[in-house]
Amino acid sequence: MTTVTYKEAIRLAIADSLEADDSVFMLGEDIGAAGGVFKTTEGLMERFGETRVLDTPISEQAIIGTAIGAAVRGLRPIAELMFADFAAVCFDQIANQLAKYRYMTGGQVTVPVTVRLANGAGAGFGSQHSQTVENWFINVPGLKIAVPGSPEDAYGLLRAAVEDDDPVLYFEHKAMLNLKGELRDTAGPFELGRAAVVREGSDATVVATQLVRVRAEEAAQALGQEGISVELIDPRTLVPLDLETIRASVERTGRLVVAQESPAAGSWGATVVARLMTESFDAFDAPPVLVSGDDTPVPYAGVMEGAWIPSVERIGSAVRQLG
């Protein structure tokens, strides 16, 4: 068991993937010589060489397209988008090419591309560098979506993404890079599509990912002291979504809070609420609550951004109001 940061876990997963399989390579902007703008990939070019860790021009369409072509020819690329918001610049490559290449060809190709995207608010980057954009893609069949919420998950999900034969969008949260956690020395890839029960409880089910999961853990701690027992579930992947683990929990607790960083409209959280309400209505003792970021772009100023991201207090009071 070693204590690592979220960022170190990502770096270790990349290094172990590169070590394990010669067909794995990395490409992205300033990931090599500079080690990445968040220093996530520091030292990898020195260790694995310029042929396997490649600095690209500022060309997101070329980054994703090159990864797609290389993957179809048998390689396993890890492409980095410096900020998840830049997925908008190459949306066609992700939504129309990466996601549909296999389907439109009747299964003639496999496209094992991993795209790493730096996600999320909290660091004062303003509206174009702070979004959690996984919801842009949950409506695009053909992609898998990983949203690690701890160093252990960051490692296991990234290893799994690289080994998976389908395209995986792997979101790493910028405000969690220095978060510490335990990593087993025997850690390996996780199965994609299995939620983690982060904390067991009996009074209410809280479902959260990434930064909001961290806040939900804190909220659950506080609620525990008030005598409210919270079961906290992190889906870890949004596609495939392990709805059954969440459903089983709600069937025991009768109460559900889904907490997410992004705005509510068309979101994974809204999908979880809608599906459980339509499919498992009888399980509920109280109406479910969706805690979300506001329906505005992410603001810059600290007090505004702070108010925008769902806080420990908001998650806590959502649980309390369920009675």
């Binding site: 397209g65 090159t66 020819r73 048998g74 296999r102 299964g107 003639q108 496999t110």
Partner: protein
């Protein structure tokens, strides 16, 4: 179907047999598309079709300059390129008719014809989107030290979309074995090139990427074969990508029922007179080939296309539940 397995084939004068082979394949593509138009008119083809009639020499000449292990990517006007790689006619008809025996099991249709078994790695229907993917094919060849090349067809309209720039730039800076083949048919959909593009010769764009650029007569199958062969040889030798601008003409409109009336009558007539199929027939005549041999090629192609069409028409429709297949590996 590739005929360039032996190194340097493109540098030698082509044999009569080679030229007759080219002619047969060009005629097959022409007749195939005539049939597709008829099937479309009978409501047996869904969505849209984008015919390449008039551009067959580019497809056949370029694809014939590849080896079996090379890759070809093309556009939604890709019937000719995919057939030129050697995709079977019946399964190509079948795909456009939406049959389970179609190349893509009925998932793709006219705009997404793909037959990986012959190196036809996809027809892409978002303008320019396949160019960065072609760069990836080139990257894979370089990474694995295979001497394969990737040939990417695209139209004149593509030179104004961002993906073109990103792909050309990256392929050039990494010296990747990619052949960017622009089929300049003088019209980007309905708009003449001059209305959308400030340069008349699109090949000058190669200069921005410090890569070789060649402008050729795309209606001369021999010239296309030779120049693509040169580009492939350069790419295999580590010389990086080439931009080729093949001048050609669409005999039909942009898509399905478009009569193409926005094109000046004189322009249409001039280009119909330069039809690549009669041009090749004249070249064969000049080589002393008797007219009967050319007629025989046409007769065989006609019978083959009709036979394959009928076979595809007789295939059943897919089971609707097949739509759930092939989303994930």
């Amino acid at each position: 179907m590739a005929t360039a397995e032996d190194q340097g084939a493109h540098t030698r004068e082509m044999t009569v047999e080679q030229l007759l082979d080219f002619l047969g394949r060009m005629i097959e593509i022409r007749l195939f598309e005539d049939e597709i138009q008829l099937l479309f008119n009978q409501n047996l083809v869904r969505g849209s079709t984008h015919l390449c009639s008039g551009q067959e020499a580019v497809a056949v000449g370029a694809c014939s300059a590849l080896r079996k292990s090379d890759a070809m990517l093309c556009t939604y006007r890709g019937h000719g390129a995919v057939l030129a790689m050697g995709a079977p006619l019946d399964r190509t008809f079948g795909e456009i008719l939406g049959k389970p025996q179609g190349l893509c099991a009925g998932k793709g249709g006219s705009m997404h014809l793909t037959d990986v078994s012959v190196g036809a790695y996809g027809s892409f229907a978002i303008v320019g989107a396949h160019l960065p993917i072609a760069t990836g094919f080139g990257f894979a060849a370089k990474y694995t030290e295979a001497d394969d090349v990737c040939l990417a067809f695209f139209g004149d309209g593509t030179v104004n979309i961002g993906a073109f720039h990103e792909a050309m730039n990256l392929a050039a800076v990494w010296k990747l074995p990619v052949i960017f083949l622009c089929e300049n048919n003088l019209h980007g959909e309905y708009s003449p090139v001059a209305r959308t593009t400030p340069v008349e010769e699109l090949v000058v764009r190669a200069g921005s990427y410090a890569m070789p650029g060649v402008r050729i007569d795309g209606n001369d199958v021999r010239e296309v074969f030779r120049v693509v062969g040169e580009a492939a040889e350069r790419a295999r030798g580590g010389g990086g990508p080439t931009l080729i601008e093949a001048m050609t003409y669409r005999h039909k409109g942009h898509s399905r029922t478009d009569p193409g009336t926005y094109r000046p009558q004189q322009e249409v007539e001039e280009w119909l007179a330069r039809d690549p199929i009669p041009a090749l027939e004249r070249a064969l005549e000049d080589r002393g080939v008797p007219a009967e041999r050319v007629e025989e090629v046409r007769r065989v192609a006609t019978a083959k296309v009709e036979e394959h069409r009928d076979r595809a028409l007789n295939w059943p429709d897919p089971d609707p539940t097949a739509r759930f297949d092939h989303v994930y590996a």
